[in-house]
Symmetry: C2
Subunit: 329 residues, 2 copies
């Protein structure tokens, strides 16, 4: 059997998002950090869910959202993540396959159930995430297929997955294989708390030259460098071959081989910011894989991000290819 | 313990909707009737789901959608329906309770799983429904609490539930109790095929004077009377104390004690028509319970319907009370 040559192979959390509108008062009452992401245990997942409004279940997970966007833009992708053998796991697998992403990791026939993220969306579109990781963190290192990684053009790693030991081992294995082959490595820092917790590890990955493309938002870049975002971007830009920093409504900055590029965000009505960074990465990487200029890659990221913030959920609803053609020609 | 006096008690299918955008070509390829509702078995549910695009899970069920709207408008409601003891069943119960609807029927700890409806939404917003009823049709007649029905102001019955023998028995029981008390009965014909299949039964319910308020759309009215919709509306208007006929973008007609009232549909961008009739009923009944004029009831129905067609899913996303105040003063 010939090994499929994937454009992008991603390792990430397999999480179904449960989205509900909320008020800022509820966020305060529940002691949540608006715009943040918190890990919650099974008990808290139940009690918070009980208090949440009527929801919508939409498949999510940072790296998987990026893959969904990439696949819609024509890239051949595989997702490596762990769901449980339950209804949400079926939904999750379906939604990835439905957009053309390969997903072959067998569901885990044991507790805990498939992971879910309780997402409270404020009237201004800001999302506050509360993640019960469930089966997601039981991804075994053996899920990594050496040949698939060695043959892939790019591996996308989700910073969230650095936390639990098993998926971290899987990611270390992927990094090792990638280094021994021509596979590029893209890494997303994902959230403040990831960088806070794993700053040393992330910094070492950079210093060891294991990361080709680093995705972060301004705050994460600042935390990583323990400095203000502007200086952090400057320093990081020297340390990785390609740095991409998203700035919410201010757009995004990329630094490639020392040269700085910038784009503005597209004007859009923000309904729910869930997945904005993930889809920015999708648009950017799609351009990157097609050999587009950095400016064009940034613009493609902005188009994909604008689509995903215009509706509930972190997976694109519109035809991204068509949208790129319409917006960018 | 004092019995809660419900404004509305509804018996209906407990179904989680799985909504995905589709093309008209897909509808044709799959031999589906655009705009229709078809019952599918477990195998077809799997094969159709495999071919469908990435979805969104949103709780549905005709009568339950109506109750969700009524509860949001301030009515005290109870839903009687059957879910299985599984993840979709949990989601379903949560979403009803989250909008204030009482739902106490214990989940069924056996196959089949919680029902689901695969809904394909065409670019023009028309929805094509494929329902796998699952646990829903195992609602036992014992689920009907005699006192609750006798004390309720209104019982809302979903025509879809006339098909399976157990829920039909539950509904017959509810009709009997309602007749012996002051409880009004509202009945929704729900879909063409329901009326085709159960025309005689539905007609007999009307002739026996068991239905106080009949909800139907134009086509269903026509099928029920075996005539053109206009004549059907005229005849039915004489046979039930209050007839409400929805006409999609043409608005709605009500006939109360022989007098005819009409409303136009509100201008809105139609994204997904799922739940339009259910929410029309919610708005109308909310007005009815508050003693509003028939014209006002129709207008309230139109406001609720316009909200629900403006987004994916059959449950309102906006604050209906606020919306009524804004649109109707």
């Amino acid at each position: 059997m010939t090994q499929t040559r994937y454009d992008v192979l991603a390792i990430g959390n397999a999480i179904v998002d449960v989205l509900a509108s909320t008020t800022d008062d509820f966020i305060t009452e529940e002691n949540l950090t608006k715009g943040g992401m918190a890990l919650i245990d099974a008990d808290r997942a139940v009690s918070l869910y009980d208090k949440m409004g009527s929801g919508q279940e939409i498949s999510g997970g940072a790296a998987a959202n990026t893959l969904a966007g990439l696949a819609m833009l024509g890239a051949k992708c595989q997702f490596i993540g762990q769901v449980a053998k339950d209804q949400l796991g079926e939904v999750y697998a379906h939604d990835l396959r439905a957009v053309g992403v390969d997903f072959t990791q067998a569901p885990r026939d044991a507790e805990p159930p498939t992971g879910r993220c309780l997402i409270l969306v404020s009237p201004d579109g800001e999302r506050t995430m509360n993640t019960f990781l469930g089966a997601s963190h039981f991804l075994p290192a053996e899920a990594i297929d050496q040949d698939a990684i060695a043959n892939a053009r790019l591996v996308f790693l989700e910073g969230y997955m650095w936390d639990p030991p098993e998926p971290r081992a899987a990611m270390r294995r992927a990094l090792e294989i990638a280094r021994q082959s021509d596979t590029q490595v893209a890494f997303s820092t994902c959230a403040d708390f990831c960088v806070h917790t794993h700053r040393k590890d992330f910094r070492k990955l950079i210093d060891d030259g294991l990361i080709d493309i680093l995705f972060a938002n301004e705050e994460e870049a600042g935390i990583l460098e323990d400095s203000d975002p502007a200086s952090a971007i400057e320093t990081l830009g020297k340390d990785v071959p390609l740095l991409v920093v998203t700035r919410g409504p201010q757009g995004a900055i990329a630094i490639k081989d020392g040269e700085r590029f910038e784009t503005t965000a597209l004007p859009t009505t923000v309904v729910d910011t869930t997945g904005a960074g993930d889809l920015f990465a999708a648009g950017f990487l799609s351009g990157h894989l097609q050999g587009e200029s950095v400016t064009r890659c940034l613009e493609m990221g902005a188009v994909a991000a604008a689509e995903v913030v215009s509706h509930f959920g972190a997976r694109p609803e519109q035809d991204l290819k068509k949208l790129m053609a319409e917006k960018l020609g």
